[in-house]
């Protein structure tokens, strides 16, 4: 079996770029989204991150503001 390259492009930010972006914005101007499981979030997360586990994202995306820059991890 060969996989189709069905993945569409997504922009990435590395650690330094992410950190810069967070410090350049007020906390209410930017969304930091954690898509891991609640237990993983509880274990450790980026300060200010919102938790929406991947399985819930397609139903709960409306809770987020599509106009704000959004960092996903």
């Amino acid at each position: 079996m060969k996989w189709m390259q069905f993945l569409t492009p997504v922009k990435s930010k590395n650690f330094n770029e992410t950190k810069q972006m967070i410090s350049d914005h007020d906390p209410d101007e930017i969304t930091i989204l954690d898509v891991r499981q609640p237990g993983e979030y509880k274990d450790s997360h980026i300060p200010g991150a919102v938790l929406i586990p991947l399985a819930e994202l397609s139903d709960r995306a409306a809770e987020l503001d599509p106009e704000k820059p959004t960092l996903v991890y």
């Binding site: 189709m4 586990p53 991947l54 599509p66």
Partner: protein, 201 residues
């Protein structure tokens, strides 16, 4: 982390989020303060299916890939709960393959045999595809760590869900829409089950 954030970023981009970024290396990079983990290079060739025919061929190869992934991982898993769930999920992907094939007969070619359809899937995938091994290498999960394997499975399921939801938004035929929504719903249930499994590991 098994590519979950990358797929999540892709889902949001498809829902109209204008500036969405995948934090490469995820929380691991944050903890170790260095960029680690898979890069996204070479993954941007696919433009999205243009027609029902193209879509169904992709969907079929995706379901087949999921089935193979689950069977391969079930063989390697040491945890009985992981093994058991992966076998069950593989069985459901077989059902999805049947449904996708029936849709193809219904929408594109009522006369086509299963064999001929499957050969088309193979040819189409070979043109720009990755082997399962190459695909895994792109994400580079540590397959000896069960959370990484489950995370990987969640990424692929979310990818499938995203594909079905995007296409469902463009389909007008009520029967086709019904099937797409049903499959999308089942992939979402898989995601939930995998999430629950992740919580136990």
């Amino acid at each position: 982390m098994g590519g979950r954030s990358r797929v999540a970023a892709q889902m949001l981009a498809g829902k109209g989020f204008k500036q969405v970024y995948n934090v490469s290396g995820g929380i691991k990079a944050w903890k170790s303060k260095t960029a680690v983990g898979p890069q996204t290079s070479g993954m941007d060739l696919f433009q999205g299916p243009e027609t029902a025919k193209e879509f169904l061929v992709i969907a079929y190869s995706l379901e087949q890939g999921l089935q193979e992934f689950y069977l391969e991982m079930a063989g390697k898993a040491r945890n009985d709960a992981v093994k058991d769930l992966f076998h069950k999920l593989a069985d459901i992907e077989v059902k999805h393959k049947d449904q996708v094939f029936e849709r193809y007969q219904g929408m594109v070619d009522p006369e086509i045999s299963r064999e001929r359809f499957e050969s088309m899937v193979t040819v189409s995938a070979l043109e720009g595809g990755l082997t399962t091994k190459q695909y895994l290498d792109q994400f580079d999960p540590d397959l000896s760590v069960e959370t990484e394997v489950v995370s990987m499975a969640m990424s692929i399921e979310a990818q499938a869900l995203d594909l079905y939801q995007r296409v469902a938004g463009q389909v007008t035929d009520p029967d086709a829409l019904n099937v797409l929504q049903q499959i999308a719903k089942e992939e979402q249930q898989h995601l939930e089950r995998l999430g629950k499994l992740m919580d136990t590991l």
